[in-house]
């Protein structure tokens, strides 16, 4: 049977990996190529790279990094950040990405999802969403979680899948960086509406958080950054624990 996936996320700025807490106070910690190799060797099932630069120079550095990673690490690579047009899909796919994650670009132009799915296939298009509770409702945020779009997040997810998104990354701003566990209430609400694979993001702090996540129906993958980068939690130890808990993982 298909395994649950463990996915480290690498935010890249100016060729270096950084990780923020609640999207604030980013700091550089490591070389992305070395980190990607380390994660591949220690059993990561997939890697996500987010380009958090906006400058032309930063973008060029990012594609250099991506090409270097993809020529040495042979597991699926998902790329996000600055994906606003089909040309951006093309740019990162040519550098070795397998899947492309859209976020703010799809909010600006919702037709991007359908156009990309038609050209590259549903399996290539990942819809990433930053979500926060506002007045007791799940609201979609843009621009790295800084801007309230006023859009209902659950409706947005449903429409995204209808348009051809093959996977969803559900990132809870409320739990991001807090390390108190995934936002299961939000994740269950998305899973009840969407039948594509769901990658849970935001809040993982301990191995038990992943076990709890995978006890919920419809959860396919857990994504985290800080706890893996700091080696507070190592993937071999996490996977051995999950298997002992009866979760199917790749060891």
């Amino acid at each position: 049977m298909i395994t649950k996936r463990i996915i480290p996320c690498l935010d890249v700025r100016d060729g270096q990996v950084v990780k923020g807490v609640k999207f604030q106070g980013v700091r550089a910690i490591a070389d992305p190529v070395e980190m990607a190799k380390f994660y591949n060797e220690t059993g990561a099932d997939e890697l996500v790279f987010y380009d958090i630069t906006a400058s032309f120079e930063g973008r060029r550095l990012f594609t250099d990094v991506l090409r270097a990673v993809a020529s040495q690490v042979f597991i699926p690579l998902t790329v996000g950040g600055g994906i606003n047009a089909l040309e951006d899909f093309d740019r990162v796919l040519k550098c070795g990405a397998d899947k492309v994650s859209v976020n703010s670009g799809a909010i600006r132009d919702p037709s991007l999802i359908a156009r990309a799915a038609k050209r590259y296939g549903d399996q290539c298009v990942v819809l990433s969403m930053d979500i926060r509770r506002v007045d007791g409702r799940f609201r979609l945020f843009a621009k790295g979680g800084r801007e309230d779009t006023g859009i209902d997040a659950l409706e947005w997810a449903r429409r995204g899948v209808e348009s051809g998104a093959g996977e969803l990354v559900v990132n809870s701003i409320d739990t991001d960086g807090v390390r108190g566990g995934f936002d299961l209430e939000l994740l269950d609400a998305v899973a009840a509406r969407c039948k594509v694979p769901i990658i849970a993001s935001g809040g993982a702090g301990r191995r038990e958080d992943f076990a709890e996540l995978f006890r919920h129906e419809g959860m396919d993958a857990g994504l985290a950054a800080g706890i893996f980068h700091s080696k507070q939690l190592q993937i071999p130890e996490l996977k051995a624990y999950l298997r002992a808990q009866g979760v199917e993982v790749r060891l």
Binding site: I2, D45, Q72, F74, P76, C95, G96, D98, Q123, A221
Partner: protein, 204 residues
């Protein structure tokens, strides 16, 4: 070792496949002309996307006939993902489309055959269970995980099936008929286990 040709017919990007062969030290070239298939020692047919579009592009590229001749002449061929699906007689992806007919069988949608609760596409890592041993599995243990991304799968090909993965139904994972091999998963994205399969194909 003779050159391995990766067929470039405008379907999907070949960066990862070429990089994985490079990391294994397997001499390879991206083939865009039929002559390159004739001079190659073995051939990989990759592919992602829709069946009909890929079948048309393969024909338009002028590579289809050369590929069929080389495969029928006994040259080792490996189809990957959609490239594997193209090896069969036909596919029922959005209509009915003719394949290369190198391996008997047909390509059908996963969705109607799956038990409730299983999602399509079948995306992720799954165990590959070997049914028949083969030189391709020289360095591969039955039950190791490989990476799949697909919504259609090969059926009515049990005679030529070497390995399967369980996704509510047995998903055809590896097929072989003589010198023609197919892998539904992506060996170039299946970590170390996938590299070992590619390396074995390069020395068959």
């Amino acid at each position: 070792m003779s050159m391995l040709a990766i067929i470039d017919y405008g379907v999907g990007n070949l960066f990862s496949l070429a990089s994985s062969l490079k990391s294994l030290g397997v001499a390879h070239e991206i083939a865009t002309r039929p002559e390159q298939l004739r001079s190659a020692g073995r051939i990989i047919l990759p592919g992602v996307g829709a069946f009909a579009d890929a079948a048309n592009k393969l024909a338009e590229s002028g590579m289809r006939e050369a590929l069929l001749e080389e495969a029928r002449g006994g040259k080792p061929l490996l189809g990957i993902c959609l490239g594997m699906q193209l090896l069969f007689d036909r596919s029922f992806e959005y209509g009915e489309h003719e394949g290369l007919g190198l391996i008997p069988g047909e390509v059908c949608p996963l969705a109607p055959d799956l038990p409730a609760g299983l999602k399509v596409p079948h995306i992720g890592w799954n165990r590959l269970e070997i049914l028949r041993d083969d030189p391709l599995f020289r360095d591969f243990r039955s039950g190791e995980h490989v990476y799949y991304v697909h919504s259609y799968y090969a059926r009515n090909c049990a005679r030529h099936t070497l390995a399967v993965s369980d996704y509510g139904v047995p998903v055809t994972g590896v097929v072989r008929r003589g010198n023609v091999y197919g892998a539904q998963f992506h060996p170039e994205k299946s970590g170390d286990a996938g590299l070992r399969l590619l390396n074995a194909f390069a020395s068959i």
